[in-house]
Symmetry: C2
Subunit: 578 residues, 2 copies
């Protein structure tokens, strides 16, 4: 199966490393395994790989892999080494005598993961080790993605874990600027490990008492930050911003046309939704899914910075009414996906009040600024919204997934969605069943997304503000001014920085179709080379009449000025011949 060659220097040695610096000395190699000094004393015990794990040739010749500073401990630990090649899943709990192999196995996994964590923060490692789909499918260095017909040994399972991380993308790496969600928060990570271990479900207090209460208290806190009186209202954590936005459209419809729940859309007139041409595509998706139709999702024009023009909203509302349609819902975006634009919520709210429309604020990306004393003003007016989407898994760095839909009116989520399933939401339980939140959701089972966020809030509430400051423009805006080959065309409002890179061949060329076409191909070419080289990642896209441009996003507190410099330098290096 292993027909492809590894692409990365160093790729042959450590399934977990993809290190930019080829290991030259034994000590350095040992360091890559994190087996150093005091720390090593704690973890070297389970750091030590069974020799058979090394047989794949990756670790050949690295005798001193486990160069802990205490060799007699090494020897003693060896006695407890587990040979995973003869162990299988059937030997783990609940098997008789399964406790020891279970613990050994889990500790081996933790070793792999903590190594990955360390490397994620290590700028000498690559962001990714790119391979095309067909290469990974063919099997690289024996990493076989195919599902087998026979159970594999725990040794192979551990190798699979290492390989999975090796060929993945380090979204927590300080040089990963590709997505709105980035970073690897240690508290959040611990929270998610605990959540996985608790392995329960949010639908009832009965089986998730602590998590249900944490969700309730956290949502209240979030509503307070929005500015709703006493934090009153309702809400849920949902599987992402798109679903949160979908909730907002559903409850808006239920508010004005509750009969749609039972009779369907034919019970309502032709309903129209409004959202920015720069807004997230999930509003259109919701329009399609919920039976409005995308034609009835009216896109609003924006100013040069990507903000909705309120007059355009009003004009389009009047136009819709004149056609006999019924305006229902307006989405204001707080932090648009590409430009990071903030729609003027107060002006939009005035219009919504005037025409009695539901106002939703999609703060999936920008909602985190509600925690910032300095930047909160960008969301002024959000307290007038009927509903808000806010994804702590974006600017606030909570591990994926963590998205909230918050609603000002109490009871409407339940009114809209409840079906009163008798097997789950028994009214005759011994506890206060208003804590059974499951019937408010469109889901039945609901993943526990709250704990990591709750834990992060407890651990660092005051740092959220700092996080936003740290990520903010000081790190980004000046690059556009300092480098004449970077052509920024929109003054940043959030940590999104959009720019063209003008390669040497285009620098003297007059504007026109030819230049536009050529420029359109520049970002994809650079991005492709960047992924092959694996050193950094940044996104690109066209928007409106603008040809492909880069969108750099900073939401990872690990990012320093030097990382942004590195990105720019890499772009220049890669685009040298373009």
């Amino acid at each position: 199966m292993a027909t492809s060659e590894p692409r990365a220097a160093g790729g042959e040695q450590d399934p977990n490393s993809a290190n930019l610096r080829p290991p030259t000395t034994t000590n350095e190699y040992a360091w890559m395994h994190g087996c150093t000094r005091k720390l090593g004393m704690k973890i070297c015990g389970f750091l030590q790989k069974n020799n058979s794990l090394e047989e794949k040739g990756r670790l050949a010749g690295q005798k001193n892999l486990l160069s802990c500073d205490n060799s007699d401990r090494d020897a003693r630990f060896r006695r407890t080494e587990t040979d995973f090649s003869n162990l299988f899943a059937r030997d783990l709990l609940p098997a008789k005598n399964g406790e020891e192999p279970t613990m050994q196995f889990l500790l081996e996994v933790v070793d792999i993961l903590t190594n990955y964590v360390k490397k994620t923060f290590d700028r000498s490692t690559k962001v990714l080790d790119f391979h095309h789909p067909h290469q990974l499918l063919e099997g690289i260095e024996g990493f076989n993605l195919e599902l087998s017909d026979q159970p594999e040994s725990l040794e192979q399972i551990l190798v699979d874990c290492r390989d999975t991380l090796k060929y993945g993308v380090r979204t927590g790496h300080p040089r990963f600027f590709n997505q709105l969600s980035s970073g690897l928060d240690i508290i959040g990570l611990a929270g998610e490990w605990l959540t996985s271990t608790a392995n329960t479900n949010m639908f009832t207090y009965e089986i998730a008492p602590v998590f249900v209460l944490m969700e309730q208290l956290t949502l209240k806190k979030m509503r307070e930050m929005i500015g709703w009186p006493n934090g009153e209202g309702d809400g849920l954590f949902s599987p992402g911003g798109a679903i949160s936005n979908m909730y907002s459209v559903m409850i808006a419809r239920y508010k004005y046309f509750p009969e749609v729940k039972t009779k369907g859309m034919s019970a309502a007139p032709r309903l129209v939704l409004f959202t920015s041409e720069h807004s997230h595509y999930s509003i259109k998706k919701a329009g399609a899914a919920l039976g409005f139709g995308t034609d009835n999702v009216i896109l609003l024009s924006t100013d040069e910075r990507g903000r909705v023009i309120p007059a355009d909203l009003e004009a389009k509302i009047l136009d819709a009414k004149q056609k006999g349609y019924v305006p229902l819902f307006v989405n204001a975006t707080a932090g648009s996906t590409v430009y990071g634009a903030f729609d003027p919520i107060n002006e939009i709210a005035d219009i919504c009040e005037k025409y009695n429309l539901w106002l939703h604020v999609d703060g999936a990306w920008g909602g985190g600024l509600l925690m910032s004393r300095k930047h909160r003003h960008k969301l002024n007016g959000i307290e007038r919204a009927n509903s808000v989407t806010w994804n702590p898994h974006k600017m606030m760095g909570v591990p994926l997934q963590c998205s909230a839909i918050l609603v000002r009116e109490k009871g409407i989520l339940a009114g809209c969605n409840s079906m009163c399933a008798g097997y789950l939401f028994q009214p005759d339980k011994q506890y206060d069943v208003t804590y059974d939140t499951g019937d408010k959701a469109i889901q039945c089972g609901r993943h526990v997304d709250i704990f990591k966020f709750w834990l992060m809030w407890k651990a660092k509430v005051s740092r959220v503000d700092r996080r936003v400051h740290t990520c903010w423009l000081k790190k980004t805006e000046k690059h556009l001014q300092a480098n004449k080959n970077l052509h920024g065309f929109v003054s940043p409002q959030h940590t999104n920085v959009c720019f063209w890179y003008i390669p040497p061949s285009l620098r003297g060329m007059p504007d026109g179709d030819e230049r536009r076409e050529k420029l359109h191909r520049v970002a994809p070419k650079i991005k492709a080379m960047m992924m092959e080289s694996g050193t950094t990642m940044v996104g690109y896209q066209p928007q409106g009449n603008k040809v492909n441009f880069f969108r750099m996003v900073v939401s990872n507190p690990s990012v320093t000025q030097s990382d942004i410099d590195f990105l720019i330098d890499e772009i220049e290096r890669l685009a040298h011949d373009l």
Copy 2:
């Protein structure tokens, strides 16, 4: 804050234990911390709690907590002890010198989690330590759920982790029979820890290359098991069975009335969906959400075992057509939520073919039987379905969440849902962009649910069959015959066993309204006492004209005959005075 008394014996000692046997000897207590022999040699290093963690009084008097068999090692490990009371989140990575505290902190968390794992499999521990919402909100033993205004120390964060687990419900405990999802699979758990650490998103190959391919290969395997030629078709992992079922209704609508995507439901006639009166409530929820209206979700009558009566389906189709409505979609349930009933798929498929309707099979619960040579026949005809929901997080024991929507026709998921967002799904990437699956989903970001399942499949494929066998009727059915106070009223088709418990006071009473009313109150009373006592958990509900009855479900391979005996004994014990 700590105004409430702990309810459980032993609850004061170990925040993680809730052990039914109060610790009597130091050795036993040490064992509860898993610090035994070889295993202890590996983990005792980070097992050792900082004394301050013990100050809360729970561990008072347990000097020999860390009775590893090698005391000189203890001494050396102590040197590396970390005082978490002076450490905060800000001291962890990416902080300068943050690597060591990060590793120490994560290892402490792992210690807490591995202890929890051990106790989950330990029948001497309780399933839960029940408290009412107001008690937990008031704060028990200092467990403060409120979000603070100041960052808490890592010591407090670790205490919070322990408390969170202590007051939760051990869904993996062999005496937890409450939900369709139960058990704690070690391989799956490891997979979920890795997924959290990788912290990426399924929307593009670009940032989740390995996971996207794993999903593709696994979905193909699942389609092969369904019996679609060459495993062709499409699919996605979604955030649960309810969303998977919602997908099926959406794509059925798109197949027959694609113009609804752009024009809304007004472009279609009045569409009608059919599903069993015993089916999951998510079909009705989908009907409400997607704009059909619940009135247009027609419930089908069932036989005494809860299976759809095909003649009733045909009669209701004809009735709908006569009224001028347009039948669109039929859901056949493979493993109903309460009875575990399997609708006759082949007979339903015949009717769907005759009237040109979309056939969906909701195999959220029963889909796992496709892996069983012995029980697969219960899903005969599933290969004729247009779409299938199958939740590996139920019978197959994959940690929550893991649900697949599988579709026979290729391309229809994308056709139905794609919006071609330029910032994410660039057509000019360097790799084959058909691997960017995100635009097929109604979500944007999508949690990585595949890895744990892929890993479990690799580790134990052949055991899935055994798992089903193990869980099967041999463990359950005979109880209904053996115990005259258990009145089963439906012959089990899956591992659901439904029964009334007849308490002493009702044993001679003639049938009638009074007895029915009294019997209706029995299960809730027993369940309440059971939760207070914390020894086991089982669900109850009314259904149709049947008053509250118990539904015991076995989906955890840890369950033995003795656990089922224990449940029945507990019911008898608790109901003694009823």
